[in-house]
Symmetry: C2
Protein backbone atom coordinates (compact mmCIF):
# COMPACT_ATOMS: atom_id res chain seq x y z
CA UNK A 1 0.00 0.00 0.00
CA UNK A 2 1.13 3.62 -0.50
CA UNK A 3 3.42 5.27 0.01
CA UNK A 4 5.75 3.38 -2.26
CA UNK A 5 7.48 4.33 -5.52
CA UNK A 6 6.89 3.86 -9.24
CA UNK A 7 9.37 4.36 -12.06
CA UNK A 8 7.54 5.20 -15.28
CA UNK A 9 9.71 4.41 -18.31
CA UNK A 10 8.29 5.61 -21.63
CA UNK A 11 10.14 4.92 -24.86
CA UNK A 12 10.04 4.72 -28.63
CA UNK A 13 12.07 1.81 -30.03
CA UNK A 14 14.50 1.91 -32.91
CA UNK A 15 14.08 -0.55 -35.82
CA UNK A 16 15.17 -4.14 -35.25
CA UNK A 17 15.73 -6.12 -32.09
CA UNK A 18 19.49 -5.57 -31.66
CA UNK A 19 19.52 -7.87 -28.64
CA UNK A 20 16.77 -5.91 -26.93
CA UNK A 21 14.33 -8.72 -26.08
CA UNK A 22 17.00 -10.85 -24.42
CA UNK A 23 18.39 -7.89 -22.49
CA UNK A 24 14.94 -6.74 -21.38
CA UNK A 25 14.10 -10.20 -20.03
CA UNK A 26 17.48 -10.41 -18.31
CA UNK A 27 17.09 -6.97 -16.71
CA UNK A 28 13.58 -7.79 -15.47
CA UNK A 29 14.84 -11.02 -13.94
CA UNK A 30 17.69 -9.14 -12.28
CA UNK A 31 15.49 -6.26 -11.05
CA UNK A 32 13.04 -8.79 -9.59
CA UNK A 33 15.85 -10.06 -7.36
CA UNK A 34 16.58 -6.61 -5.94
CA UNK A 35 15.62 -5.76 -2.38
CA UNK A 36 12.53 -3.57 -2.46
CA UNK A 37 11.31 -4.63 -5.91
CA UNK A 38 7.51 -4.81 -5.78
CA UNK A 39 6.40 -5.48 -9.36
CA UNK A 40 6.51 -4.60 -13.05
CA UNK A 41 3.94 -3.85 -15.75
CA UNK A 42 4.53 -3.11 -19.43
CA UNK A 43 2.66 -2.42 -22.66
CA UNK A 44 3.82 -1.23 -26.07
CA UNK A 45 2.11 0.03 -29.19
CA UNK A 46 4.05 2.79 -30.95
CA UNK A 47 4.92 4.13 -27.53
CA UNK A 48 6.07 1.74 -24.83
CA UNK A 49 5.16 2.33 -21.21
CA UNK A 50 6.76 0.23 -18.49
CA UNK A 51 6.24 0.82 -14.80
CA UNK A 52 8.32 -0.77 -12.07
CA UNK A 53 7.26 -0.52 -8.43
CA UNK A 54 9.64 -0.16 -5.51
CA UNK A 55 9.47 0.02 -1.73
CA UNK A 56 11.82 3.00 -1.41
CA UNK A 57 13.98 5.53 -3.24
CA UNK A 58 16.98 3.63 -1.85
CA UNK A 59 15.85 0.48 -3.69
CA UNK A 60 15.52 2.46 -6.94
CA UNK A 61 18.97 3.96 -6.44
CA UNK A 62 20.50 0.53 -5.78
CA UNK A 63 19.00 -0.80 -9.02
CA UNK A 64 20.16 2.30 -10.92
CA UNK A 65 23.71 1.62 -9.66
CA UNK A 66 23.61 -2.15 -10.31
CA UNK A 67 26.70 -2.97 -12.38
CA UNK A 68 24.97 -5.23 -14.91
CA UNK A 69 22.20 -2.67 -15.30
CA UNK A 70 24.70 0.10 -15.99
CA UNK A 71 26.51 -2.09 -18.52
CA UNK A 72 23.22 -2.88 -20.28
CA UNK A 73 22.20 0.78 -20.38
CA UNK A 74 25.18 1.50 -22.64
CA UNK A 75 23.12 0.03 -25.50
CA UNK A 76 20.22 2.43 -24.87
CA UNK A 77 20.85 4.43 -28.04
CA UNK A 78 20.73 1.25 -30.15
CA UNK A 79 17.34 0.33 -28.71
CA UNK A 80 15.56 3.62 -28.15
CA UNK A 81 14.93 6.58 -30.43
CA UNK A 82 13.87 8.38 -27.28
CA UNK A 83 13.03 7.52 -23.72
CA UNK A 84 12.03 9.21 -20.49
CA UNK A 85 12.31 8.01 -16.91
CA UNK A 86 10.06 9.45 -14.22
CA UNK A 87 10.62 8.54 -10.59
CA UNK A 88 7.35 8.92 -8.69
CA UNK A 89 6.02 8.55 -5.19
CA UNK A 90 2.68 6.71 -5.21
CA UNK A 91 0.40 8.74 -2.94
CA UNK A 92 -2.75 6.65 -3.15
CA UNK A 93 -4.35 3.93 -5.18
CA UNK A 94 -7.71 2.30 -5.79
CA UNK A 95 -9.38 -0.01 -8.27
CA UNK A 96 -11.23 -3.26 -8.63
CA UNK B 1 9.58 19.93 -14.63
CA UNK B 2 9.05 18.05 -11.32
CA UNK B 3 7.36 18.20 -8.99
CA UNK B 4 4.13 17.52 -10.82
CA UNK B 5 1.72 14.58 -10.72
CA UNK B 6 1.06 11.44 -12.74
CA UNK B 7 -2.01 9.22 -12.63
CA UNK B 8 -1.12 5.69 -13.70
CA UNK B 9 -4.20 3.82 -14.90
CA UNK B 10 -3.65 0.10 -15.57
CA UNK B 11 -6.49 -2.06 -16.85
CA UNK B 12 -7.55 -5.26 -18.51
CA UNK B 13 -10.42 -4.80 -20.97
CA UNK B 14 -13.55 -6.88 -21.24
CA UNK B 15 -14.52 -8.40 -24.61
CA UNK B 16 -16.06 -6.08 -27.21
CA UNK B 17 -16.00 -2.32 -27.57
CA UNK B 18 -19.27 -1.47 -25.76
CA UNK B 19 -18.83 2.20 -26.61
CA UNK B 20 -15.38 2.30 -25.07
CA UNK B 21 -13.38 3.83 -27.94
CA UNK B 22 -15.78 6.75 -28.35
CA UNK B 23 -15.93 7.36 -24.61
CA UNK B 24 -12.14 7.16 -24.22
CA UNK B 25 -11.61 9.74 -26.98
CA UNK B 26 -14.28 12.00 -25.47
CA UNK B 27 -12.78 11.75 -21.98
CA UNK B 28 -9.29 12.53 -23.27
CA UNK B 29 -10.62 15.58 -25.12
CA UNK B 30 -12.41 16.71 -21.98
CA UNK B 31 -9.44 16.06 -19.66
CA UNK B 32 -7.20 18.02 -22.04
CA UNK B 33 -9.38 21.08 -21.44
CA UNK B 34 -8.98 20.90 -17.67
CA UNK B 35 -6.84 23.42 -15.84
CA UNK B 36 -3.56 21.78 -14.89
CA UNK B 37 -3.68 19.00 -17.50
CA UNK B 38 -0.13 18.47 -18.76
CA UNK B 39 -0.30 15.46 -21.08
CA UNK B 40 -1.34 11.86 -21.69
CA UNK B 41 0.39 8.68 -22.85
CA UNK B 42 -1.13 5.26 -23.45
CA UNK B 43 -0.23 1.77 -24.66
CA UNK B 44 -2.13 -1.51 -24.58
CA UNK B 45 -1.23 -5.12 -25.22
CA UNK B 46 -3.04 -7.53 -22.91
CA UNK B 47 -2.56 -5.01 -20.15
CA UNK B 48 -3.29 -1.36 -20.85
CA UNK B 49 -1.22 1.36 -19.21
CA UNK B 50 -2.30 4.98 -19.51
CA UNK B 51 -0.58 7.84 -17.74
CA UNK B 52 -2.00 11.34 -17.44
CA UNK B 53 0.13 14.19 -16.14
CA UNK B 54 -1.14 17.03 -13.98
CA UNK B 55 0.19 20.21 -12.41
CA UNK B 56 -1.33 19.59 -8.98
CA UNK B 57 -3.44 17.27 -6.82
CA UNK B 58 -6.18 19.91 -7.04
CA UNK B 59 -6.28 19.52 -10.83
CA UNK B 60 -6.57 15.72 -10.45
CA UNK B 61 -9.36 16.15 -7.91
CA UNK B 62 -11.26 18.54 -10.19
CA UNK B 63 -11.08 16.05 -13.05
CA UNK B 64 -12.14 13.21 -10.72
CA UNK B 65 -15.20 15.28 -9.76
CA UNK B 66 -16.03 16.39 -13.32
CA UNK B 67 -19.70 15.53 -13.91
CA UNK B 68 -19.27 14.04 -17.38
CA UNK B 69 -16.31 12.02 -16.14
CA UNK B 70 -18.33 10.64 -13.23
CA UNK B 71 -21.20 9.77 -15.57
CA UNK B 72 -18.81 7.95 -17.92
CA UNK B 73 -17.19 6.03 -15.07
CA UNK B 74 -20.51 4.30 -14.42
CA UNK B 75 -19.71 2.09 -17.42
CA UNK B 76 -16.37 1.00 -15.97
CA UNK B 77 -17.53 -2.55 -15.24
CA UNK B 78 -18.67 -2.98 -18.85
CA UNK B 79 -15.25 -1.97 -20.13
CA UNK B 80 -12.78 -3.30 -17.60
CA UNK B 81 -12.32 -6.73 -16.11
CA UNK B 82 -10.04 -5.01 -13.63
CA UNK B 83 -8.34 -1.67 -13.27
CA UNK B 84 -6.12 0.17 -10.87
CA UNK B 85 -5.52 3.90 -10.43
CA UNK B 86 -2.34 5.17 -8.82
CA UNK B 87 -1.93 8.86 -8.05
CA UNK B 88 1.76 9.72 -7.98
CA UNK B 89 3.99 12.68 -7.34
CA UNK B 90 6.77 12.86 -9.97
CA UNK B 91 9.95 13.50 -8.02
CA UNK B 92 12.44 13.65 -10.88
CA UNK B 93 12.80 12.80 -14.53
CA UNK B 94 15.44 12.40 -17.19
CA UNK B 95 15.79 10.96 -20.67
CA UNK B 96 16.85 11.76 -24.23
Amino acid sequence: MPPYYAVIFTSVRTEGDNGYAEAAARMLASASQQTGFLGFETARQELGISVSYWASLEAIKAWKENAEHIETQKKAKEWYGSFRVRVCRVEREYGF
